[in-house]
Amino acid sequence: MKKIMAAAALLAVIAAAAFLLAGRNGGEKEKTSIKVGISIYREDDTFISSMMSSLEAYAKELEQEKDIKISLDISNGDENQNTQNEQVERYISLGYDVLCINMVDRAEAATVIDKAEAAGIPVIFFNREPVEDDMYRWDKLYYIGSDAKEQAVLQGQIILDALERHPEEIDINQDGILQYAMLEGEIRHQDSMVRTEWSVQSLRDGGAMPEKVTGGIADWERAQASALTEQWLTDYGDQIEVIICNNDDMALGAADAVARAGLDFHNIVGIDGTPAGRQAVDEGKILGTVVSNLELHAQAIMDFAWAMAVGEEIDTEKWPLIDGKYIRIPQEIYIG
């Protein structure tokens, strides 16, 4: 019996040694770099591409400040959720520290979350907000973006302010009713729906009596917005007093069509405050836009990514968290 006990003890020692060795082999090394995998829904969205430029610039600053290499890999989801899912899988397989995802389809976030949770990699969603239920599937999920309702209300405010200052330039036919055309972003996109609803609601709340002449979906794109506006200018002509656009790219598209038609019309409002959008405001091609601070977006994403990757606490004084999950970037009116 003693021999059996001795043999068992020997084997137990071997097993323990093996575990120790295995633990040492797989142990954590000191971090000399962090890897951030970023997937965006479409690379030719001006707002997102400008945000990515700001993000890269801020990552460089942070890298120099912290003396740890920050490797950013930005992939284009190309408006295809399957492509984006593959990009997420690739980041996970390559051992990235944190994922920053601008969802192609906000309703499909669960797939990304489940993969990331299984690999223990935190996820920061940005700009395209996943549905609320999904955000509570795991504790290492955050969303950084602007409040679409606030944007829309501010957009309405631009028109109301202009109406107060120069009523004859906005209510062109002086009938006391604001005839408008609406250029909407993606169908079913939450921001698009909220911006559409609340920009008009804020006009009503401000006593402007809005009346829709026409509207259409231009998918956030300048070219589509331009084509739609060109058609409307032919069909409705001077019936349209204001063109309300869900983003700056579409506002620029509307301005392109107006310029092609040779009209002196600039009652066009956008949202996002992209560099091109602000330039168009300065040049008097559009009435105004709502600036959603790109630099702040980028800083918030990178600060969160950094904290997640190195295991630091999030600086909640700098970035106050709403419901422990959401960061809302402040925004302001820009009229040049």
Binding site: I4, A7, I14, F19, A22, T32, E43, D44, S75, L94
Partner: protein, 322 residues
């Protein structure tokens, strides 16, 4: 318990422990990992604005050859670009880069830096040749061909009385010298006067554009690289000189293509950046696997103009779809 039984129980127990260990550790059987190659791509710019198509090709090759790419840009556009690149090379190698793809900011200085460092990883040169023996392979555009094609286009479209200003802030790269040399040679043969504006005080080229528009002087401006081209096109637009000044150049990004489509840029010499990106990663992996790689790979030059940019061959180069 008799002896055979005891031996049987001990052997059985030992087998169970061994099987358990084999299943939870790498102690006895090393699981073969799918090999992932770490390749760092270091460019000579602070952003990837002019590298979008290159990155598409690079990403495609990365997916095919299982490569983890670290795409590294410079911190700033100071005169210390070679120093920055040298430090970045050190950092990337320390961080585990198994191969480097380099677009040198200054080929000669980089050759010296590499010679001093003697990196033990394969180095692939892109865009500009690096005269360092340890470079495994170079993927370079055919600059002379691009220069010749652009000169031909200028010859077809412009009056011989117009002066041609070729603009580049610095001419430290052979590739720019090759473009200029061919352009100058072909245009002079056609009867044009070609003036090189380089290495001068910042603002010289802009002042030239302003002066030309103020004096209503018709001329031709050629940006010898994409950044110079974009600057020239912006100045011409800013000073309302589009009706006087014809703008040509080399390289492209989305803004350059947009300006070309809107007739603010009259023609560009381009190469297939997508293929360059793809080949750089493919050659890096081949070098890591000690496979043979072509020493120098010259990519064809093409001429793109606003009215031809959507033709099949050019649109494949300008707007590649992976």
């Amino acid at each position: 318990m008799n002896k055979p039984k005891r031996i049987f129980y001990i052997a059985g127990f030992a087998l169970l422990v061994l099987l358990f260990l084999a299943s939870v550790t790498d102690l006895f059987f090393q699981e073969r990992d799918a090999r992932v190659y770490a390749v760092s791509v270091i460019i000579d710019d602070t952003s990837d604005d002019f590298w979008i198509n290159f990155k598409k090709g690079m990403d495609q090759a990365a997916a095919e050859f299982n490569v983890d790419i670290s795409f590294v840009t410079l911190y700033d556009n100071s005169n210390e670009q070679n120093f920055q690149q040298t430090e970045l090379i050190r950092r990337e190698i320390e961080d585990g880069a198994q191969a480097l793809v380099l677009c040198a900011a200054d080929s000669m200085k980089m050759a010296q830096s590499l010679s001093d460092m003697a990196p033990e990883v394969p180095v692939i040169a892109v865009q500009h040749a690096i005269p360092y023996q340890g470079v495994s392979s170079s993927i370079l555009p055919d600059n002379q061909e691009m220069g010749r094609l652009l000169a031909e286009q200028i010859g077809r479209e412009e009056d011989r009385e117009k002066k041609v200003y070729a603009i580049a802030p610095q001419m430290v790269q052979d590739s720019l010298r090759e473009r200029y040399q061919k352009l100058e040679e072909a245009l002079t043969a056609e009867g044009f006067q070609v003036i090189l504006i380089t290495g001068q005080e910042p603002g010289t080229a802009e002042a030239l554009v302003r002066q030309a528009t103020e004096n209503r002087e018709s001329c031709v401006m050629v940006g010898l690289d994409a950044a110079a081209l974009l600057d020239v096109a912006d100045w011409v637009e800013e000073y309302y000189g589009n009706y006087l000044i014809s703008v040509y150049g080399f390289g492209h990004n989305a803004r350059i293509l947009d300006m070309m489509e809107h007739e603010k840029i009259d023609g560009i010499g381009v190469t297939d950046d997508y293929v360059m990106g793809y080949l750089s990663i493919q050659n890096a992996v081949a070098s890591l696997n000690r496979e043979e790689t072509p020493g120098v790979c010259r990519l064809n030059g093409y001429l793109a103009t606003g009215d031809r940019m959507y033709e099949e061959e050019l649109s494949r180069i300008l707007f590649p779809i992976p």
